[in-house]
């Protein structure tokens, strides 16, 4: 006889509420990626024009950076060709006081946020890591370890809210990065603390060579949000207007105290993982060709043309702006950067340790022996303030 069957026993009272109090339905993403272009939806012509100019410039930037790798001016470039709509929309939805947390593929987002294109490429050039001042444009250092910058975005947004600032942090991550533990921890912290953080996953089909199907068994990456009690949104990542709309809503919601949103933008990596990758080993040309039909630049051009907004002036204007940016980038990248080796010992700590001072003296002696150089390496005995160039 079990306890329940004992004569006279009461039905055990249920334990205190333990079930999730959130109805998952409103958190679920749509079955199909959200689209605006080509749907006849009402769209602000001015915004369309701005998106077009940015996307054209972004495409040119990707082409120029890729060319620079061939000329040996960039050590490596993870191209975002095909993903320009996500990159520029991410930057455009942020206000000046907001923060962008890019991953290594997202230099274009940093440039669209206003950073000097050459400066944004410091890390990839082999110059000092990061190479820019994160506070100038409120762009965190490009993160190479996957997903590890996501908790930073959560912490920064949390701190801003504690201080009473209405700052939003938008963090970018790839489809592969969503498998990392830090992705989970960041979403969970953001959800529990309701931080004003927007997570943008660019699902570009591959993590280097591994396709999405081998990365996750989830119905979509946006579905992962539901497990954290966070809304998940699925958007066509090549539709600049749709990405802009979905991210704007997420940013507004975050700013208004509504907490984080997980946005999955479905897009495609047209180029190889980096210039060092051989993409033919893991995908066919037909797949790439199919995606080229759905190119973010083409989608915008078609929309503008359909609305009678695309004239030669607009086309030329966008192209000229892009060419000018590319020329400036080329010039800057063709300068030979001179890094002072003595700068190696700067910025390890606020003040050099005795051990670092000793090692600095050793390197200085080596340099002097090499060059017969008694040249000026600046004052590196204290803590140099500059970047040691």
């Amino acid at each position: 006889m079990t306890v329940l069957e004992q004569p006279g026993s009461h039905r055990p009272s249920p334990p205190p509420a333990w079930r999730p109090r959130t109805d998952p339905a409103p958190l679920l993403p749509d079955a199909e990626p959200y689209r605006l272009l080509g749907t006849g939806a009402e769209l602000d012509p001015e915004l369309l024009g701005a998106l077009y100019r940015q996307v054209v410039k972004g495409r040119r930037y990707n082409r120029q950076a890729t060319a620079l790798t061939r000329q040996g001016r960039l050590a490596v470039y993870p191209s975002s060709t095909g993903q320009e709509a996500c990159e520029v929309a991410a930057a455009m939805v942020l206000r000046e006081r907001d923060w962008l947390f890019p991953s290594y593929r997202d230099t274009l987002a940093a440039v669209a946020r206003g950073m000097d294109p050459a400066e944004a490429l410091g890390l990839l050039r082999g110059d000092w890591h990061t190479g820019y001042d994160p506070y100038e444009h409120r762009v965190a250092p490009l993160s190479t370890p996957l997903a590890t910058h996501l908790p930073h975005a959560v912490g920064l947004a949390h701190a801003a809210r504690l201080k009473g600032d209405d700052v939003v942090a938008l963090a970018m991550v790839g489809d592969g990065g969503t498998s990392e533990g830090d992705f989970h921890e960041a979403l969970n912290f953001a959800a529990v603390w309701k931080t004003p953080t927007v997570f943008l996953v660019q699902n570009n089909g591959f993590a280097i060579s591994v396709p999405l199907a081998k990365q996750t068994a989830a119905p979509s990456l946006a579905h992962k949000a539901v497990g954290y009690g966070v809304p998940g949104r699925l958007v066509d990542g090549n539709d600049a207007a749709a990405v802009h709309r979905v991210l704007s809503e997420a940013v507004d919601r975050a700013r208004a105290g509504g907490g984080p949103t997980l946005v999955e933008a479905v897009t495609y990596r047209i180029d190889a993982h980096t210039n060092a990758d051989d993409a033919t080993r893991y995908r066919g040309d037909d797949e790439v060709a199919a995606w080229l039909e759905h190119d973010p630049v083409t989608l915008l051009e078609r929309e503008l043309a359909d609305r009678g907004l695309l004239d030669d002036a607009m086309r030329d204007g966008a192209r000229d702006e892009a060419e000018e940016m590319a020329a400036r980038l080329r010039d800057r990248m063709n300068e030979d950067p001179v890094l002072d080796p003595m700068g190696l010992f700067d910025h390890v700590y606020a003040e050099k340790t005795a051990q670092l001072r000793e090692q600095a003296a050793q390197l200085r002696a080596e340099l002097e022996a090499e060059n017969g150089d008694h040249g000026d390496h600046g004052d590196h005995d204290g803590q140099a303030k500059g970047d040691g160039r």
Binding site: T148, V154, G155, A159, A160, F189, Y349, A350, T353
Partner: protein, 356 residues
């Protein structure tokens, strides 16, 4: 600790009670938080419970949940969000519940915390204090007694600090929180309940990070140690007196930066050195310290620098931990081996592999 008590007649009497290291640590955080509104404490169970060791006791009550915050159970998340908080101008003090549970946060620690100042050329310093209760001797089961200092020491960009006295627990933690660099603050958990006549009401010195302290003067040999092994070495030094040896004890207090000056000055005076710590010997801090001494003091040395350390094994079960941890006898043994100069030359086989 000085406490004011009121008796039935309403008269106030002041009694001075000894304070524990745990109380001094709590007090350090409390004072730092009261003085600087940007200091925030976060970690697992640090709020209502006051931490599993009660080191954050009362902070949430006094400063609110926004200043002393219970986080979800995720070490990378705790340290990762602390990075973002520091980017925005706060001074996070994070608690890792136990030494071996800090490992999930190593990615954040090594890839971001230690490097952010450097990779941004000084633009983005991270003033984060990472408190880690470490070491054995409290009968903790697996994963509760690791001495992980070698991992931290091997990572440029981190300061690594560990107090051995109640006063240093306060002073060094204040210094760590005030530091503009990330500090791994290792708390010797078996000294949490050690006591000293120490009053937080009186002005307390904030110990500079990077300075070792000679805890006991001596002439025949130097014991170089830190954290939980300091009391062991002091006891050994007392016992050594009976053998006629006058042993000096240097408490490093800071592993990074390392105080070569104090250590070498001592070894040059005594001519003999033993490094004592709980962490495993192989690849451990003792190897680095012995090498530094050899490089700088070779011509003063009367004997090789010896190490007395934990065995090169995963931390043993509590029933056997006293066999593993370097105790007074093992330290005295090493000191003895330093003194018998004739044997060094006559019977070298007696010393083969005999570093503990």
């Amino acid at each position: 600790m000085t406490t004011a008590t009121t008796d039935r007649s309403g008269a106030t009497a002041t009694t001075r009670k000894p304070a524990t290291m745990a109380q001094a640590l709590t007090r350090a955080m409390r004072d730092a938080m009261a003085q600087d509104p940007t200091v925030h404490v976060l970690g697992e169970d640090v709020g209502v419970l006051g931490g599993v060791f009660r080191i954050t006791d009362g902070l949430t009550k006094e400063f609110g949940e926004d200043r002393c915050t219970d986080t979800p159970l995720a070490e990378a998340g705790i340290l990762g969000t602390a990075v973002g908080m520091a980017m925005y101008g706060l001074r996070p003090v994070v608690e890792m519940q136990f030494d071996a549970f800090a490992y999930p946060a190593f990615e954040q620690l090594l890839s971001h915390v230690a490097k952010m100042r450097n990779r941004t050329r000084g633009k983005m310093p991270l003033p984060i204090t990472i408190r880690v209760p470490y070491g054995g001797g409290i009968g903790g089961v697996e994963h509760h007694s690791d001495s992980s200092e070698a991992y931290y020491m091997a990572t440029p960009g981190l300061h690594v600090v560990t107090p051995a006295t109640v006063a240093d627990a306060y002073g060094l933690l204040r210094a760590a929180i005030a530091s503009d660099d990330p500090v791994v603050f290792l708390e010797p958990k078996r000294l949490y309940w050690s006591k000293a006549d120490w009053s937080p009401e009186e002005p307390q010195a904030v110990a500079p990070i990077g300075r070792a302290e000679v805890r006991r003067r001596g002439t025949s040999a130097t014991l170089i140690t830190y954290g939980p092994s300091v009391p062991v070495c002091l006891e050994a030094a007392e016992a050594a007196r009976e053998e006629g040896w006058d042993v000096e004890v240097v408490d490093l207090r800071s592993l990074v930066p390392f105080d070569d000056e104090t250590v070498c000055a001592s070894v040059r005076r005594t001519g003999r050195a033993v490094v004592v710590h709980e962490a495993s010997a192989f690849g451990g801090p003792g190897g680095e310290i012995a090498a530094r001494i050899t490089e700088r003091c070779f011509h003063y040395l009367q004997a090789p620098v010896l190490r007395v350390a934990g065995f090169d094994i995963p931390y043993p079960p509590p029933m056997l931990e006293r066999r593993h941890l370097p105790g007074v006898d093992r330290v005295l043994d090493a000191v003895a081996r330093l003194q018998w100069e004739s044997e060094w030359t006559e019977r070298p086989e007696a010393f083969e592999g005999g570093t503990r």
